[in-house]
């Protein structure tokens, strides 16, 4: 039997273990047969192993088997595993030989059958054990795998938490960016508004400069005439003609208008700057008692350039109690809602802003006559990044910022249909808030 290791001289053979005659043929079975053979006339019969050592026998008076004794082999798997031996002098002739052959063949058959039975049992046991070991192994690897999945699930939770925190940080950054972008847009609009009056103020001042030169010119001439003493008729005529050629009377009149307009322009710039300051509340720190009506007005005034041409803005304001809040944040919210309304339609836009008190809440509704918001989008319009505008046109954060500001103040914001078409945003704010509420 070859093995992987040639030094090894014992081999584990899982099925088909080699057996000696003694292993497959119990003494009790052999003894019964030998006793019967003895009774049949084969006295002193012996069974010996291949080395000649006696295994079983019948008849005590028979001498030990010798070399020349009549014998028949007992075969086990084709190999002589022992022999049936009779004493050399045993009589009987043919009958004896026949009985000897019968005995040897019977013992061979018995050994074969016993071996077959043992093989069956052995295989059965081996297969059962092997299957059991395989089941144990399967169970062990399943347990390991379960353990791995448990660990994975655990680390997955941590990963999800980390990723969620990361996302909310990114979200906060984006909201901040949106606010900044909103302010930037506003600043651009305001710059435009200031630029316009500034242009004509500059132009008027240029004209005034030229006029002033003429005034100085005529004054210089008068000066010279009077210094020479006396005014001759000739001189008076000359002065009149010169005055007429310079159109001093006309420009004197125009100069007054110019100066008035310039002052108006300057006043407009001043107001815009004041509105902007009011809107941004740059001078205020923290919460301040706020009149929402005034804040809406302020927001509208800084958004003048965003109002579509021909749009009707209807203010139906009722007096409101002042509530403590960050007015800048609310202006931001009104900005978002108004901008949303201004985008509802290009022509014939009508935006109705209505304020009032209902119970312990301030109600502010902002209705447009645009296309309205389809029912299936209602639940999504306040979601971050949700937008119906073209890619690159809107980040979908304007209403999200508005929502955050209102809810942080303990209020609610809802959208509903405007009777006759369009959408109405309804903001409700508590007049008194819990002390722990804070506005972002």
């Amino acid at each position: 039997m070859p093995t992987d290791n040639e030094d090894r001289d014992r081999i584990v053979y899982c099925i088909g273990e080699e057996r000696a005659l003694r292993d497959v043929l119990p003494a009790s079975e052999a003894a019964t047969l030998l006793a019967a053979a003895s009774r049949a006339g084969l006295r002193g019969v012996r069974v010996v192993d291949p080395g000649g050592k006696a295994l079983w026998g019948n008849g005590d008076d028979v001498p030990p088997p010798g070399e020349g004794d009549p014998r028949r082999p007992i075969l086990l798997e084709g190999e002589p595993a022992g022999s049936v031996v009779l004493p050399a002098g045993a009589a009987g002739g043919e009958t004896r030989d026949a009985l000897l052959a019968l005995l040897a063949d019977t013992l061979t058959a018995m050994a074969h059958n016993n071996l077959k039975r043992m093989l069956t049992t052995e295989t059965h046991t081996e297969v059962i054990n092997r299957s059991y070991e395989e089941l144990l192994e399967t169970n062990r690897s399943l347990s390991e795998s379960e353990q791995r999945y448990r660990e994975l699930a655990g680390s997955l939770e941590i990963k999800v938490r980390e990723r969620t925190e990361e996302l909310s940080r990114a979200m906060a950054r984006l909201v901040q960016q949106e606010k900044m972008a909103s302010v930037g847009q506003l600043a651009a609009g305001v710059a435009h508004e200031i630029n316009n009056p500034l242009a004509f103020v500059t132009s008027n001042l240029q004209t005034l400069k030229k006029y002033t030169e003429r005034f100085l010119d005529i004054i210089a001439r008068y000066q010279r005439v009077f210094e020479q003493g006396g005014v001759a008729q000739q001189d008076r005529d000359d002065l009149r003609m010169h005055r007429e050629s310079l159109r001093v009377d006309a420009i004197s009149e125009d100069a007054g208008d110019l100066l008035r307009q310039t002052l108006e322009g300057a006043e407009r710039v001043r107001k815009i700057v004041a509105d902007l300051k009011g809107f941004s509340h740059v001078d205020e720190e923290g919460e301040a008692p706020t009149d929402m009506n005034r804040e809406i007005d302020r927001t509208l005034s800084v958004m003048t350039h965003e109002i579509p041409g021909g749009a009707a803005i209807v203010r139906e304001f009722s007096p409101l109690p002042v509530i403590p809040c960050l007015p800048g944040a609310f202006n931001q919210m009104f900005l978002g809602l108004l901008r949303n309304a201004f985008q509802a339609r290009r022509e014939g836009l009508r935006v109705t802003i209505r304020t009032g008190v209902s119970g312990d809440r301030i109600r502010i509704s902002l209705a447009d006559n645009g296309p309205g918001i389809p029912a299936d989008l209602r639940t999504r319009i306040f979601d971050p990044f949700f937008t119906t505008r073209d890619v690159g046109k809107g980040k979908g954060l304007g209403l999200t910022v508005a929502y955050d500001i209102v809810t942080a103040h303990g209020g609610t914001i809802d959208v509903e249909d405007t009777p006759g078409g369009g959408a109405t945003f309804l903001v409700q704010l508590p007049i008194r808030r819990g002390s722990h509420d804070q506005i972002r």
Partner: protein
């Protein structure tokens, strides 16, 4: 547990007939039992069967003594081919010295042959036998039936593997002894390299195989 004792000068070899269900492994052994001389051949032990299908295995033992006195027993086993008896197949395959893979020649059985050969490769690896070093012979049995794969196709498929391919009809009794002889010779080659059968024991390849396949009558 077999004791291989240099004092006792005994060696036990194991040859396994592997293959898909109903490819004729038991019939191969039955034919060997019928065709080979009784001398040196044991009786065929057919363990439990169900509907003529092997559940455990069959065993046909051979016994010979080398000129040096080395007693050699060659035990030829079949494995149960049915898929569900894989544990038994592994148990029988353990420590095999040579394998005859009995394939069914019918074209319809090609898939079963391939699956069974895959199973043999896997189980050999599980029981720690290197298929490249194992004496392995392929027998395409049932050549007497219609719808069989042509010989050249078989040779083309198996040629690159280097395994000898023998065609047979175990039912008609041809190709069976040749298969056994081929696996015996290849097993001898491996053993001779390891144990110097010819030099130490006076046992040549010819005498080893010749004594195993001595024809009856």
């Amino acid at each position: 547990m077999i004791e291989f004792d240099s004092e006792e000068q005994r060696m036990v070899l194991k040859v396994v007939y592997y293959g898909p269900a109903l490819s004729g492994k038991t019939t191969n052994l039955l034919r060997l039992h019928d065709l080979l001389a009784k001398e040196g051949r044991g009786e065929l032990t057919v363990l439990d069967t169900k509907d003529d299908r092997t559940i455990y295995f069959d065993l046909l033992p051979f016994f010979l003594v080398a000129p040096s006195g080395l007693k050699i027993k060659v035990k030829v086993y079949t494995v149960p081919g049915q898929v569900q008896h894989d544990a038994t197949r592994k148990a029988v395959l353990q420590r095999a010295d040579g394998v005859a893979f009995i394939a069914d020649s019918r074209r319809t059985e090609a898939k079963n042959n391939a699956e069974s050969f895959g199973n043999l490769e896997r189980n050999l690896s599980i029981v720690g036998i290197d298929i490249d070093k194992l004496p392995l012979v392929i027998q395409y049995n049932k050549r007497d039936l219609p719808g069989i794969i042509p010989e050249e196709e078989i040779r083309r498929a198996w040629g690159p593997t280097g395994f000898p391919v023998i065609l047979s009809s175990a039912l008609e009794g041809w190709g069976v002894v040749e298969t056994f002889r081929a696996v015996a010779e290849r097993t001898y080659d491996v053993l001779d390299r390891r144990h110097d059968f010819a030099g130490k024991h006076g046992l040549t390849r010819e005498s080893f195989a010749g004594r195993l396949v001595r024809r009856a009558g």
